[in-house]
Amino acid sequence: MPTYTDMTRCDGCGECVDICPSDIMHIDPVYRRSYNIEPNFCWECYSCVKACPQNAIDVRGYADFAPLGHKVRVLREPEKGVISWKIRYRDGRLKEFAFPIRTTPWGSIKPPQDYEKPDLSAIGSQMLAHEPEALHIDALPTINKTKA
């Protein structure tokens, strides 16, 4: 059940075009708003739905959780680390779900190249690179063999 863009909400920012792994979100040549050029090739990854800053992209959920005729809308709040979903069923019932997605601020994860290059001697260590500091702990837990 592929995505489609509500053109009255879309402001043509291009985020969905950028993120679509199937490269099927493109820009309409007449209205310069995004649209799904090939719904058959949409694998319903929901990336564009969640990335859209205008909440302009809707997706029909699978029939096993929402029979046809419903609407599924999403609200991403990166500043709160949460994504919320709302399903409006065809008989008018509403269901809302909120999912925590992370516990650190958006954009705060350090990319690998920002870490100091490990020393060659680290290759003999049991630790992975930058452990344990990168895990925000003092030391990895170990098994106390005397108690085991």
Binding site: G14, V17, I27, V74, K80, G92, A98
Partner: protein, 252 residues
């Protein structure tokens, strides 16, 4: 260039009424084009259906005072192009929007209030030039760097399509207006002046005459949609989930 009424020289060849009639015709073209666009897209039906759906799904009534407040908030948002999520697009749109208002207003005032006189209040031609320059800067920035099909969809910066009819004719119109004004005040070359004036009128007519096919009317539709969205959020009929009351960010 910055102090003379650029439309005065035209009155040597035809009466001021000609330009006045032209402006009235362009105004009628915008109104007619917008109505045709509304009819073609079914926008009136769309808004009526959306309002009926919103009323049916409403969980609370929105008072008249609240409705007025929502309308004011919508106007305030449109005044600063607050709907855009990226500042370069927002800034370029603001330059074009306010430049367009200044340019159109000063054009109308100079043509209707000061027909046939070169000595207008100095602020008018200065604002006319500033308004046109704002459109040119915002428009060229948008056209070459910010158009989403260019920035994200792999089109060349020189790609032209139907979506460019509005911004392209707007840029060309003000560019030739400025060039015509500059040439007529700096060089005594009637041929160049008339060629530039002809191009200015051609692109201006294209801008206002092609509303039915261009994106011109989006400046009317967007605030209407934004207002409808605010009403839906206020009366509880919005399809969007409610904002989360919990913050899950616990570590920096």
């Amino acid at each position: 260039m910055f102090t003379n009424n650029p439309f005065t020289a035209l009155t040597d060849f035809w009466p001021p009424l000609v330009m006045q009639v032209y402006i009235v015709l362009m105004t009628l073209a915008v109104v007619g084009g917008t109505l045709l666009d509304v009819y073609h897209k079914g926008s009136a039906k769309f808004f009526a259906r959306r309002k009926a759906q919103s009323d049916a799904a409403a969980t609370r009534q929105v008072s008249a005072g609240e409705t007025a407040s929502l309308a004011m908030k919508t106007i305030a948002e449109a005044a600063v192009s607050g709907e855009f999520c990226k500042w370069p697009r927002r800034l370029s749109h603001l330059l074009m929007m306010y430049g367009f208002f200044i340019y159109i207003t000063t054009t109308v005032v100079m043509v209707f209030a000061y027909p046939g006189t070169a000595h207008v209040p100095a602020i008018l031609p200065a604002l006319w030039t500033i308004g046109a320059s704002m459109i040119l800067v915002g428009g060229l920035w948008f056209f070459f760097f910010l158009r989403v099909n260019v920035a994200y969809d792999g089109d060349s910066a020189f790609h032209l399509g139907r979506a460019d009819l509005f911004v392209g004719s707007l840029i060309a119109s003000v560019a030739f207006a400025l060039a015509w004004d500059y040439v007529q005040t700096t060089y005594a070359n009637p041929t160049a002046t008339w060629i530039l004036f002809g191009l200015y009128i051609f692109f201006t007519t294209l801008l206002f005459g092609a509303v039915r096919w261009s994106k011109f009317a989006h400046m009317f539709f967007k605030p209407a949609v934004a207002y409808q969205r605010r009403v839906e959020e206020a009366n509880g009929s919005s399809d969007l989930p409610r904002p989360s009351t919990e913050n899950y960010i616990v570590r920096s």
